[in-house]
Symmetry: C2
Subunit: 276 residues, 2 copies
């Protein structure tokens, strides 16, 4: 069966579908609809590869930067997405980027329950609590993926992981690292069930992060930009570590702190590979 | 002698001084005037403590968040800054922040010549090449400061370090870490003169960053977000290292890469303190 011909492009910025895309920048509309935005070639490719359900793909060929866009649009069509051509003016309105690349997808939010955290041998996890800045959360996902993390657990999210700036800053790794959203007690009890040791990073610890054993089943736990970890996490963690800072200002971005401890774990795990 | 009474506040957003503050967001006007913007309490405090020359301080008490602003304004006045009261509407126009805190300084750019890089025992430096995003450069300065870096060398800057978003993302550490701006050959020759080993981070290296000796006089060299390090740096460096990434996506933000290698240096240096 040949593919159905594409409909006429949307030409008006006042089109209700364009307006709905704009509303999805707000969490309320994302929570209500269970949908979210995935913009950009790389992000959409990773979403498709990961089996994320794309319901609609808005495309504006005049804005394409490369030569692979048409193939991606076909892949999305085969995966069940409705393909919606859009003229440049309404596309620019729907896009949340400064330099839109002509591809904007609408996707269904996927399950993020702690029950989905599967047992596996010697996993490395990142747990983040109450992160406020979408860019930080996205960078944390990207960094955790690079470190080979088995999952990222987002506790008491101040920013939801389906925020378009999380998708963007994660470069689409939101779709490749298993993601769990939980409240802090739920996350603590699920990690205990799975026998995963928790290592909390806090300026009040006395042990350096490199002095802790980060091999075996371990979750690195990092708190919010402004307030650090909650008392609940500090009390529940199996160990507390500090990143020693020889400088005068003593302050690291929360995503940077997560990356430094995760890659110390990568170093330790390379030196002492997981047992049989 | 009592302090001179402050003049009447600026009330018009069309005031030429307000317009000049707005123009200083552009590099051209910063290069032309040799001035730059320092906004926010923390950033201004660090600038004053570091002896940066503030020529003017624009203040809008209606926007103050805390109780220490008046003392900071007095400190700026004593240091020679002209204090310029501004009403809320023109202040918001001059501010480049979403939530202005009522303090915006005009400062003189300070010298950043490679000749200013002083010899010292076993320094740790960060060298960054052609970084494009001001937020990344600012994060690199903040992270280098936290790692106790003796200086940050900015090579072939695509973004100038006096960009207001560098000041902001650095949290004012732009004023506390010695800063050098140079072209790549100039940076390489100055580091050689000083006997500082250069360790280039590149995905094409075979040695892991933790396998390199990062003690003694060492400069960690990191390239641009998009293109990595230039051939000139890769050829000139004393050693090349890769950050091993067990994940599938294999990509770290440039500032994150810098932080991971700098803090591996912190770890090694704590284990093997500098010699006598």
């Amino acid at each position: 069966m040949p593919p159905a011909a594409d409909p006429e492009p949307i030409t008006s910025p006042a089109n209700p579908r364009i307006k709905h895309l704009v509303r999805l920048r707000d969490r309320r509309e994302r929570d209500r609809s269970g949908l979210f935005l995935v913009e950009g070639y790389r992000e959409l490719r990773r979403a498709l590869e990961a089996g994320v359900e794309l319901t609609e793909l808005y495309c504006c060929p005049d804005l394409y930067l490369g030569e692979n866009e048409a193939a991606l649009v076909e892949a999305a069509r085969r995966a069940g997405a409705e393909i919606v051509p859009v003229a440049e003016v309404p596309f620019r309105k729907a896009s949340y980027r400064d330099r839109p690349e002509g591809l904007l997808g609408l996707a269904r939010q996927f399950p993020t329950s702690p029950a989905g955290l599967a047992p596996q041998p010697d996993p490395l996890l990142l747990v983040v609590e109450a992160i406020e800045k979408p860019g930080n959360l996205g960078t944390m996902l990207r960094t955790a993926e690079a470190a080979g993390a088995a999952a990222v657990v987002v506790c008491d999210p101040a920013t939801d992981p389906f925020n378009p700036n999380v998708v963007r800053a994660s470069l689409g790794t939101l779709f490749t690292v298993p993601l769990v959203v939980a409240d802090t007690p739920g996350a603590i009890s699920r990690l205990r069930e799975l026998g995963i040791r928790t290592v909390a990073t806090t300026p009040s610890a006395s042990q350096a992060h490199w002095e802790a054993d980060l091999t075996g089943p371990v979750a690195v736990v990092v708190g919010s930009e402004q307030y650090g970890l909650s008392d609940a996490w500090l009390a529940a963690a199996d160990c507390r570590v500090v990143i020693p800072m020889p400088g005068a200002v003593d302050s690291l971005n929360a995503a940077m702190a997560a990356g430094i401890v995760l890659f110390e774990a990568v170093r330790q795990r390379a030196a002492a590979p997981a047992g049989p």
